[in-house]
């Protein structure tokens, strides 16, 4: 091992597809996979390795690292969402709700729903539907049937589960804390239940829920197939699985713009707004690691769902996958 004459100085320009050493103008290769693999097997001989963004880690480590990421970002999560997507994430979540079109009396399980965006929209939609029904009823009531008069004496729709319409489940307590605070601020007291749980092992019985949603959470799960199987288990027959997640952009021009925006701007925003570069670096890398629309559709079908479809939003930046348990 030769030693250089003085302290070595290198300035590597990094464009996230290759790196070129300014001094030698050649591409710097990766450390060989055998080298890295040998290290990881020596230290984590039992665990299999998986990806954490562009890093390779053991599976246990991934769960821990993802937990830490969301613990750090929980307080600024919503501000950062607005800043990164320029507010468009609200439109995406609204689109998910419109696709779902829930009716009053249904029960939602929102997994990885930490700060509660989907559940709040669900409650709003149901409330809107109930109000609309009530208004229609009063307008059209000319000669009420016995059925309608009986129902009019009952106070409102009977909610399932003793008043709970949506269950928010998240593995991270900090995110749930933020979610509960937001719910209190917005007055969503009744109708919501907050549960700590792992998407790979949900603490619920079989055949319980009408809808299962997971918005921007499934790419953080270590074993996606297990999460899909759990989704299948807890849904009632006839229940619907919906997943809103970042996906692959097919248009090459948009893809390059999106990549440049993701890698150049988002970590900078994370540093300036939240003081945390690394968590947002993980975010953009994990998006690239997630399977594309067709592959994910196949995974959902493997878990036992029928009529699996996907809808691209914003040119493929996000996709809503939906499937039914029959």
């Amino acid at each position: 091992m030769a030693s250089s004459g003085g302290v070595a100085r290198t300035l590597c320009r990094l464009y996230y597809r290759f790196s070129v050493c300014r001094q030698c103008q050649r591409q710097v290769p990766n450390l060989s996979k055998t080298n890295r693999f040998a290290v990881s097997t020596r230290l984590y001989s039992e665990q299999r390795s998986t990806h954490f963004g562009f890093e390779t880690v053991s599976e246990d480590e991934k769960t821990e690292k993802v937990y830490k990421v969301f613990e750090n970002v929980a307080q600024k999560y919503d501000v950062m969402n607005d800043a990164m997507s320029l507010g468009i994430h609200r439109l995406w979540k609204d689109a998910l709700m419109h696709l779902m079109s829930p009716t009053p009396g249904t029960l939602l399980l929102d997994v990885a729903g930490g700060t509660g965006d989907i559940s709040f929209r669900f409650l709003d939609y149901i409330r809107f539907r109930q109000d609309r029904e009530a208004r229609r009823d009063t307008l059209s009531r000319q000669s009420a049937s016995w059925q309608e008069i009986t129902e009019a004496y009952q106070p409102g729709q009977s909610d399932t589960q003793g008043g709970v319409q949506a269950v928010v489940c998240d593995i991270n307590k900090e995110m749930l804390k933020v979610g509960r605070q937001r719910a209190a601020d917005r007055g969503y007291g009744t109708g919501l239940s907050w549960v700590v749980g792992n998407a790979e092992e949900l603490p619920f019985d079989n055949d319980k829920f009408d809808f299962y949603t997971i918005a921007f959470g499934i790419r953080n799960v270590t074993h996606i197939d297990q999460a899909l199987q759990e989704a299948h288990r807890v849904l009632k027959p006839g229940g619907r699985f919906l997943c809103l997640e970042f996906s692959r952009v097919s248009n090459p021009l948009l893809s390059r713009v999106y990549d440049a925006y993701s890698f150049q701007l988002i970590p900078v925003l994370g540093e300036v707004i939240a003081g945390d570069w690394k968590s947002y670096q993980y975010l953009v890398e994990s998006i690239r690691r997630f399977p594309d629309q067709e592959e994910f559709k196949a995974m959902i079908e493997d878990a036992g769902f029928f009529k699996v479809q996907f809808h691209n939003l914003t040119g493929g930046v996000v996709a809503i996958h939906s499937g039914f348990k029959l």
Binding site: S3, V28, N35, L265, P267, V268
Partner: protein, 281 residues
Amino acid sequence: MGTLVRGALYVGSARKCRTLLFDRRRLFSADVIGPSPHSEHAGTAAAGHGDDELYCRLYRTHIPTSPVQKALLAAGSGVAALLDPYRHDMVAVLGETTGELALRRLRDRMRGDPEGYQILQERPRIRVSTLDLERLGAMPDGSFGREYLRFLDENGVTPDSRADVKFVDDEELAFVIQRYREVHDLMHTLLGMPTNMLGEVVVKWFEAVQTGLPMCILGAVLGPLRLSARRLQLLTATLIPWALRNGMNAHCLLNVYYEQRWEQSLESLREELGIEPPPQL
């Protein structure tokens, strides 16, 4: 993880690209921004990123950034620091992203001075774990060490509150800016300035002249905007001329090996460095 894992990879021709050595223990060890005399490209697989791309991390807290990202960071951190001056991490990021030229000049000045060169070689760090606060407290009044400890106690600051260097793409320059941050409190002691807004602005003027860092210049120019009229008048009439005079005449304060000077009396140190005692207010 006590074992030293060495992976040596021969990169390119021997003339230009040397062997690549990554020291896993060092990547996890305490925060010495140490030189890596054997490497041109510090290996990163152990602690950091790198399945598809190689991130050249040159020191433990390094985050490599492209020029576009540096420009965005400079702009963003500038705005954030102006909106909320208590965000010290944003001030630090602004300093790192805008200070490359000034840091090179500073490093060359340090190299040219014997004491500065010794600092660059030995890389001392000023933090609670390396300072012996009891020994400093036991020193006689009027000595540099005692006065420094008094300054820390009176103002309720600790040397451990400095942000880590993240965005400087050269590990020697990263040390220079880290040293500048750690020496900041010592400058307060030497100039006799408290850590309120007025004192900070005065020290920023002094540092702007001494180091030439754009962040100091910006802080010096924009800092007075937040002062009351009376303090502003005091500032412009006496303190700024004094700070400028001292900045220009004094010895470069980064070239002083403070860790060897705790016993020296404050007066004699000021005289040696060419700093006038602070004006009586």
